[in-house]
Symmetry: C2
Subunit: 344 residues, 2 copies
């Protein structure tokens, strides 16, 4: 079922070449970060590598500060989704040969300020020069006192939450790429939810970040857990204000801001019903108000409350759509609009 | 003194933006891999990220198997140089959009076979698509039973060795780029010296790999230690057969195969005189015959025995040369030949 999705199939193909380490706790796709036991100690390492390539090449990230910020935030968010305490990050920078001094200093400032926000030190790196820029972050964390969070583990009846309102990632991409936005792109600076992830590890039955948007996250969790997700909370209580505003001003259906492959790096997680009260109290203690989305269901469907009641969303087809239109954004948006019209 | 070198100055500039982690054992440039203490355990992590960018873009690595092999070998060699036991590697692949299936399978085969050669499992990764290909490996190892090896620590009188004969990296680059080589490029498939590195950790006062060639390695060790290196062994006993053959057939002075910034990933290390016998016995026990190069000296010079006796080599100028000719290979080689002529 995982391999019904093009991206999963490609990753499975690449990974099938390699034998799995006997020290690795997670199976392929089972967690946001790789989990490695250290023989002779109680420590489990969490480690994740993430490159920022397409976002730069397609012009989605132009501001060097944002590129630096995201180089840290993307892999740090994966540490958050397994509940690890961050140790540090290594950064491989491939800079364009004609990079200006100001561009490089803004890039470094973005890395520095994201690291400070998360308490993640830059431990080292590698620098290269090329015709085209790309950035890779490899974040390292530890888990000492209990089991890590994984993507697998939720059960029907579990409550679904997100760490914050959703849809900013796709709204940002839509505003940057199309004529839907204002002259000025939306303010986009996601936060890796490390503090929340460390707390969640005590309560959540499954967790994954929305680096690829909510629908891709729920679809992947559905395929891994063999469960469905009924997102019953009305969209206006789930969506980020910027996503609601963009939908309103451009006339696109609001739920489309949950579809795109560019996400906002919030955590989506499930809590068993008997732990909900205790979890919500612990969240209040750190001044955090998670967003209730709905319930885990037995039937393998993703349901959204788009205003006219519960609606089944073809998340598999939506995830493959960007590849199927070969990354053509106009075709992508019009295909999403067709999906919406067909669902009415 | 480190910052007399262009590359060191650039790295120092980038790194000076960031605060150093209190858990980090090594200072900037002090070791081939980053060394991180794990609080509450005796374990020290060794971690290193390396990207293969210029080698692909400039056409030095065309064979996908070699690209895969080097993606593992380059950071694994840095683990070897600190004496770490490998835990695994994460690989970020940026593939060209038009990559053929055979190219990708050969790339994966190179990664797999290097991993098997070193006992390094692929733990995870990230895959992206772009106009231009690049590969990043982030290798992870541990040190449990004693102190790591660093680049700093050698003293005048220490013996200098390399793990094998040298010069293959530059000979390969010369043969690939110029008309000096045969039709067929040299056979180039370096080995990360992990087994040797683990043994060396008990004996060596300093260690560094020759990823940038011998002269850059000795120059960096000189600047870090405030010592010099007198390489008194005649070149024909130090140079790799392919380097000697290339020098002979093309007429270039053999020592130039130690100059180039593309190395062969051997270990260069120093052993205090009172430990030499014990070290050589331990090496014999693992069927390893290190190459004796010479002695550490008080004066900060690099001396080579080029046939006509000891000759001081301007390693600082040679290291900066590639940047100064803006990567122009013809100018680079002719400038090296001028350096040779001036030294006679």
């Amino acid at each position: 079922m995982l391999n019904d999705i093009l991206e999963n199939r490609f990753i499975e193909n690449l990974a099938s070449t390699f034998a799995r380490s006997p020290l690795q706790e997670n199976g392929l796709q089972e967690s946001d970060a790789e989990l490695i036991r250290l023989t002779g100690s109680d420590i489990m390492l969490a480690i994740k590598v993430d490159s920022i390539v397409e976002e730069i090449e397609m012009g989605l990230y132009r501001d060097p500060y944002l590129i630096g910020w995201m180089t840290v935030t993307a892999p740090a968010s994966d540490l958050a989704a397994v509940g690890a305490k961050p140790l540090g990050i290594l950064i491989a920078e491939t800079l364009a040969e004609d990079s200006e001094r100001h561009f490089i200093s803004e890039l470094q400032r973005g890395i520095k300020e994201a690291g400070e926000a998360y308490g993640i030190h830059v431990l080292g790196g590698d620098t290269n020069f090329s015709g085209s820029m790309q950035m890779t972050g490899c974040a390292l964390g530890i888990i000492t006192d209990s089991k890590p969070m994984m993507r697998r583990g939720c059960k029907p009846g579990d409550h679904i939450y997100s760490s914050e309102r959703l849809g900013l990632g796709s709204a940002y991409a839509l505003s940057a790429y199309s004529e839907m936005g204002n002259d000025k792109p939306l303010d986009y600076r996601p936060l890796a939810r490390l503090k929340e992830g460390e707390l969640l590890r005590r309560f959540a039955s499954a967790c994954m970040d929305t680096s690829d948007g909510l629908l891709a996250t729920l679809d992947q969790l559905m395929r891994l857990n063999g469960t469905g997700f009924d997102v019953s909370t009305p969209l206006d209580q789930i969506l980020h204000k910027a996503a609601l505003d963009l939908a309103c001003s451009s006339g696109i259906p609001p739920w489309l801001t949950l579809c795109g492959p560019h996400g906002e790096f919030e955590l989506v997680f499930t809590i068993p019903p008997q732990r909900v009260d205790e979890f919500l109290q612990a969240a209040r203690n750190i001044d955090w108000a998670p967003i209730y989305l709905g319930r885990v269901t037995e039937t393998c469907n993703i349901m959204l409350n788009t205003g006219g009641g519960a609606k089944r969303v073809p998340t598999g087809a939506i995830r493959d759509l960007f590849s199927k239109v070969s990354g053509d954004l106009k075709r992508y948006i019009s295909a999403l609009l067709e999906t919406d019209a067909a669902g009415r």
